[in-house]
Point group: C2
Chain length 255, copies 2
């Protein structure tokens, strides 16, 4: 504790650290004000102020009468874990898998050229994979890479290797991404692979990924079984919401 801080703020730091460290788990009832007064040997005022700050910061929730409890804190996710299915699943302690359905080198049509910011008829590499968790289908992935990145993908086993790890090994670093999240009915192809009926609701994430030079690396259209993945975000009046809700009159249903 820094002696120059007000007492309540020092108390806040100690309690917040117990929550952040996991020493106090989510859902745990906090000790009563009386118990905290006894533990820290302070008066009731600073304890109350510290608890109020924990509430405002969202680390503690509750109590109409009932003692306050440790609040579920949605952690933010690292960029690499967010964009890589393999790294995400491994972090969850599960086993990621992939089945390569199609791997093609072809020439960009106008739309693809625009999306990838390359010239029309530039070569690209398209990858279609079914992604698995513990052997079960979870996501249907369609991505298209610029040739500088894609050429490396033709040489590796895309059922065993993470694409982004492969690219990093080649000095190509996915660095930024723009993601659009919505819902879409399953098309015939992904319906078969995901083992659902055509038209079934899927959670779709369309992403443009840029490398360390700000150059577009790939575009992807990933469709998740909705009971296998979702997205959580916390927001507050203190911080602008990092997620933007966009109205689109005809967002289209993708391909």
């Amino acid at each position: 504790m820094a002696a120059s801080q007000p007492l309540y703020s020092q108390l806040y730091d100690v309690l917040a650290e117990r929550i952040r460290s996991g020493d106090w788990e989510e859902g745990k009832q906090l000790p009563s004000e009386k118990a905290l007064v006894a533990e820290f040997g302070t008066s009731r005022g600073p304890v109350r102020q510290a608890l109020a700050k924990l509430r405002t910061e969202g680390l503690v929730v509750g109590g109409r009468g009932a003692p306050p409890r440790v609040q579920r804190a949605v952690r933010s996710q690292s960029f690499d874990t967010f964009i890589s299915f393999t790294e995400w699943v491994e972090e969850l302690g599960r086993t990621p898998g992939a089945k390569v359905i199609e791997l093609t080198q072809r020439l960009a049509d106008e739309r693809l050229a625009r999306d990838l910011d390359i010239a029309v008829e530039s070569p690209v590499v398209a990858v279609v994979r079914l992604r698995l968790v513990d052997g079960e289908p979870v996501m249907f992935e369609r991505s298209v890479y610029v040739i500088d990145a894609g050429r490396h993908l033709l040489r590796v086993d895309l059922e065993a290797e993470s694409i982004y790890q492969t690219l990093r090994n080649q000095g190509i670093f996915p660095t930024r991404a723009h993601n659009v999240i919505d819902a879409v009915g399953a098309g015939e192809i992904e319906a078969r692979w995901l083992e659902v009926k055509p038209g079934s609701p899927l959670l779709r994430v369309r992403r443009t990924t840029l490398d360390q030079h700000g150059t577009v690396l790939d575009i992807a259209d990933n469709r998740y079984l909705p009971n296998k993945a979702n997205f959580a975000v916390d927001n507050s009046t203190l911080n602008p919401t990092p997620l933007t809700r966009i109205a689109v009159d005809d967002a289209g249903s993708g391909g």
Copy 2:
């Protein structure tokens, strides 16, 4: 320009300001290095460094040979606009609307009591509304308010008034929220109101909103027509992603 900054950094500030101010619009081609050298009377080095920083920061994208262009910047959204359908639609310059389908005061069952952090059989106010944009159905909203907030909703015209604006007028300030975004098939009821077939894909946002004291104010289940709304998020290796992808083996399909 602050004279103590390195030259390239001063240049960066000037160019970034042109982009942020909208003076240079999205998609605009940047002047050539040569033109920038001429405009600022510097050598080529600082211009190149400034351009490199604009790319890293995501304000500029491109150029395999082609001149770099101003990049679409996803703005973050204010908390109020994010959680309020009315305020969101008004910001878009469209006309929000609501049809009240059900408004009920009842007693919380166990599950609702847990979600709202209140005692079982506490009174709550449940609101079911169809939300419209320019008179067309866009979202089906189910929300349940604790009685301290809900009592105010019984007295106002929920087809004309924003619920959150009504609550703010009563000194109740929605301050934080936890949001989970996924996809779900339309149930019979919302299918009829949204004019789609049962089972059609909808974009679902489930939200818990807390007031300025950190107390739960309401829980909501909002289902959007997927071609009418989506969510965009930008992320990078420099910043942790504020959105967490969660794997759930049985997230359920909601009610």
